[in-house]
């Protein structure tokens, strides 16, 4: 009962607005909202914008059809 009471008190008293406000301000200033995933440098950091490279050969960029089409 004490545990349930403590959890209820925490849930009801938590001020969500403060942290949401800070997150929104950072997002508004930087225009970036992607979660700060702790990923290796060859993995996408900005979700949806970056492409994942081959984790086995991080230096090797992916070859795709467009590479051949635009090759000079």
């Amino acid at each position: 009962m004490i545990l349930v009471g403590a959890v209820l008190a925490h849930y009801l008293s938590y001020d969500e607005a403060v942290s949401q406000n800070i997150l929104q301000k950072i997002s508004s200033v930087t225009e970036l909202s992607s979660p700060s995933l702790s990923v290796a440098y060859y993995e996408p950091r900005i979700l949806f914008y970056d492409k994942a490279y081959n984790p086995a050969y991080p230096q090797m960029l992916p070859l795709n059809r467009m590479d051949f089409i635009y090759e000079k």
Partner: protein, 392 residues
Amino acid sequence: MKNSLFLHFLTLLLFKQKSKHIGAVLISVIIIFLLSTVLFISSSLQHSILCTLKKQADFTVSRIEAGKAVNTPAEWVEKIMEINGVSKVAPRVYGRYFFAPRGNAFLVVGIDFFDEQNNQEMQLLLKNLNLKTFLSQDSMLVGEGVKNFLKAHYFTDDFTFKTPKGSFKKVKIAKVLPKQSNLIANDMIILPIDVAREIFGIGEDEVTDITFNVPNDAEWDNIITKLHLMFYDVRVIEKREVKKAYENLYNYKGGLFLILYLVTIVTFILILYQRYSMVYSTERKEIGILRAIGWSIRDILKLKFYENLTIVMVSFILGVVLAYGYVFILNAPLLSQIFLGNANLSNSVTFVPVVKFGLLGSIFFFYAVPFLAAVLIPAWKIAVTPPKEAML
């Protein structure tokens, strides 16, 4: 049968056989704790990320070359502004700076500190930030993860970037971003847009990409068509696509755990069923005696139902409460790394309490029904046999 007597007998039975129930309660608590923990983390992260997305521009435009995003010409900003229905067109300069000695990377974001809105937001965010001092020399704002990393590598006051031209750029660490922003800014470095250009070797006529808003939703598809007609080497990303990507990211991880949970719960229920259906002489004897003294099959099933419902309720409440404490009070040490990764800078996020009661109801339902069935079916099988046979 009077209810008070029944309850008294049920309580006595529970306390008398508590050693028998402790094992089931313990396993149930662990299973519910793990599942609730994962669901709490994923729903909290999803909630926070989707809230930050509200402040994002509706569209992002970048130039593509050979299938890859490359720097976008700055002149596109003016061209996009000319499209009717478009507002708040803003260039972005950002990228990842690779710190070769340790194999870590920072997200460097250049912003225009002279922009009135940015200026106001910054003043609200960092109350003691003196912009005059900040802009008088090359300075930057760093996320908590970056600060800890730089401190560990003896960069306490400033950090020296290596530019693509081979020169070095020393930038002062002016302030650390608030801890509450770790979810999006842990590995972030915010500095004036000119300094960011210099670090990445981006010319004055280029930007990383361009963002803009289209207040009228009905115009969205029309604007995309116009952009594709205007530029042939363009990639347009809509906010609604990004939103879907964020939702899927944590749904996927939550879903993965849900599958593991299902495997675990099925195993647990099978063990429980096997245990109760085994010919336990005490169990059989107990039911046989109750039948012999005049209890009906219904009464016996009622007793077993309430006995196990108590176990289910206790396990469920304990599991959920412990999970809540672990995630929202202790901030999920260890498990949060599954969701946030651990390959770059370490990140400690404060989770916003988000409890979806519908989801908890579903967990209870999927846990309680098989549990009760696994106990009641064998009990019913014994109860329907004649008392004399059951006690043999």
